[in-house]
């Protein structure tokens, strides 16, 4: 059998199935074109198995699928476009063996997608992943693969794999620690086997211990956010005094070699308080403040000191009881959304904190031309669900109030338009609140995604 040559359409030649999926079509074409030489060799090598392919053929279909998953562009490449493209491929292929390979790829891909979805869902529900293909199909009965997109599926799958790997490493660490503790008990001469077993059981399952440990982990997260972990060893080697950032006097919280300290201290409002700028570094004033427009009612509600003057790029700190007296380093950008967030459309969610505090508006996903910016967590979030909002120094636990889309023309409007849109979409903003617009970039691989910058407005008006 000769090496198959397929007549793929030119990039600029319109095909009905290309509409709306230009990248998907081109990408599929590229993948198949890359593999066609190899496919010919595979087809030459003979066929076996239920799908009519050799083991190598099956591996090839897996490889193509993997390529789609791993190398897929962050573009509107949907499974729908893949399906249409692959169906077209099957129709166009004249050689029955090529048709067979195309159909096998479809079947294999469909199964892989279903299997991955099953794995993700099982993990989420704490169930066992399905062990047989029949079980995979049973669990995904009625699932419309064409409504999925690779970006979402890939990121969810990667997250699943990462969690599993991390769990393995943590379990290994735990075993090591158990041994260490056992040795210490032996050294104390007080380690009767029964009491060690009881102690081990206690430590393993203790919710109280975890409650004590989680705030420590949150603080560690804050330290890592400021690059403390990486600086520490080098500072120690240099014989310098190593001090955690938050132990340094307020207003000068930074470590040697780290970026400049926060310049604004912003206190989180409590029931009786309105947001107030407590201090402002000279550099902020010199840079020229952004005077956020407030409505008359908002000015009245906000009271003295509530008007926020922030300069684009300035860092500031949120602190107060809502944040359990920890500080959260944020970065302000210009209030002009268009200037800083070059999106044509954004998906925005409103959140409230579990304790009283500011309402938080988070940009979860954006579209810039044909590029879809990361927003995989949006789909996982359900109304009322808990979610962490990442800042540079920590994470805030929040409840989702709702989500809505902001179209191009309105997205380019000022903050208050966004607030009004939020209200129109049933998101009730707290009377004395901050509106924070941020990017969900902490788990994003897209370096263009504004690197955790946070846009601060405030205070929002009561709804």
């Amino acid at each position: 059998m000769s090496n198959p040559e397929f007549n793929f359409p030119a990039v600029d030649r319109p095909h009905p199935w290309q509409e709306g999926y230009p990248f998907g079509a081109v990408h599929l074409r590229k993948i198949i074109a890359k593999e066609k030489k190899r496919a010919g060799e595979v087809l030459k090598s003979g066929k076996s198995g239920r799908l009519g392919l050799s083991a190598e053929g099956k591996a090839l279909s897996g490889k193509i699928f993997e390529k789609i998953m791993n190398e897929g562009p962050y573009s509107p490449l949907s499974l729908g476009s893949f399906w249409q493209g692959a169906e077209w491929f099957c129709q166009k292929a004249e050689d029955p063996a090529q048709k067979l390979l195309g159909r096998s790829l479809l079947a294999k891909t469909g199964y892989q997608v279903r299997r991955i979805i099953c794995q993700i869902e099982a993990e989420k529900r704490g169930e066992e992943a399905p062990r047989s293909a029949a079980e995979v199909f049973r669990r995904t009965k009625g699932l419309d693969l064409k409504t999925l997109n690779y970006e979402d599926l890939e990121s969810r799958y990667r997250a699943l794999l990462f969690d599993k790997k991390l769990d393995r490493v943590l379990a290994k660490e735990t075993v090591g620690r158990r041994k260490q503790i056992g040795r210490k008990l032996s050294a104390l001469g007080a380690a009767a086997t029964a009491s060690w077993l009881a102690l081990g059981e206690k430590v393993s399952s203790s919710v109280e211990l975890t409650k004590k440990a989680v705030p420590v982990a949150l603080a560690a997260l804050a330290l890592i956010g400021l690059g403390f972990g990486l600086h520490r060893s080098s500072l120690e080697k240099a014989g310098k005094n190593v001090q955690a950032p938050e132990r340094v006097a307020a207003g000068s919280a930074h470590i040697v070699g780290s970026p400049p300290p926060p310049t604004l201290i912003f206190k989180t409002p409590t029931i009786s308080e309105t947001p107030t700028v407590f201090s402002q570094s000279p550099s902020v004033a010199e840079a020229g403040p952004i005077d956020l427009p407030l409505t008359g009612a908002e000015k009245q509600a906000a009271g003295k000191g509530a008007k926020i003057n922030l300069s684009a790029g300035e860092r500031f700190v949120l602190e107060g009881p809502v944040f359990k007296n920890q500080s959260f380093l944020l970065k302000a950008v210009s209030p002009s959304l268009a200037a800083n967030f070059n999106f044509d459309e954004a998906v925005v969610c409103g959140y409230e904190l579990s304790e009283e505090g500011p309402t938080v508006i988070v940009i979860h996903a954006g579209r810039r031309g044909e590029q879809i910016l990361p927003g995989e967590r949006l789909k996982a979030a359900e109304k009322g669900g808990k979610m962490l909002v990442a800042t540079e120094k920590g994470e805030i636990k929040t409840s989702l109030l709702g989500a809505f889309r902001v179209p191009s023309d309105q997205f380019k409007a000022e903050a208050e338009t966004l607030a009004a849109l939020a209200r129109q979409n049933g998101i009730s903003l707290s009377g004395k609140c901050l509106l924070v617009v941020t990017c969900d970039g902490w788990n994003s691989a897209d370096s263009t995604y504004l690197e955790k910058e946070v846009l601060v407005f405030g205070p929002g008006s009561s709804s």
């Binding site: 991390l166 379990a171 660490e173 890592i224 972990g229 190593v242 955690a244």
Partner: protein
């Protein structure tokens, strides 16, 4: 992997560790519990270690409070030790 990537990775690990710890009995919760206990034992003198362990069998929270009262800068040292450990995990996960 450069410093910035390592920091991002360490942050990701910590976030996932915290999320995991929300589920009782999970790998994350167990790891943090043992980390806390081992850290306390490492920093207590033998007599205090005995008191700590015996209290741990009946009142875990009280045992940690006891350790915190005995170890100067307990919280700070613990946080720093955890950061160090997380960067260690980061290296291991990248191997």
């Amino acid at each position: 992997m450069n410093n910035s990537q390592a920091t991002n990775y360490a942050r990701e690990i910590t976030v996932r560790l915290i999320r995991s710890a929300e589920k009782p009995g999970s790998a994350g919760a167990e790891f943090l519990n043992y980390f806390l206990v081992e850290f306390a034992l490492d920093h207590l003198n033998p007599q205090a270690q005995k008191a700590f362990l015996s209290q741990l069998l009946t009142d875990e929270e009280g045992a940690i409070d006891f350790a915190a009262s005995q170890i100067p800068d307990f919280e700070k040292k613990l946080e720093e030790a955890l950061v160090e450990k997380i960067f260690g995990l980061e290296k291991e996960l990248n191997e």
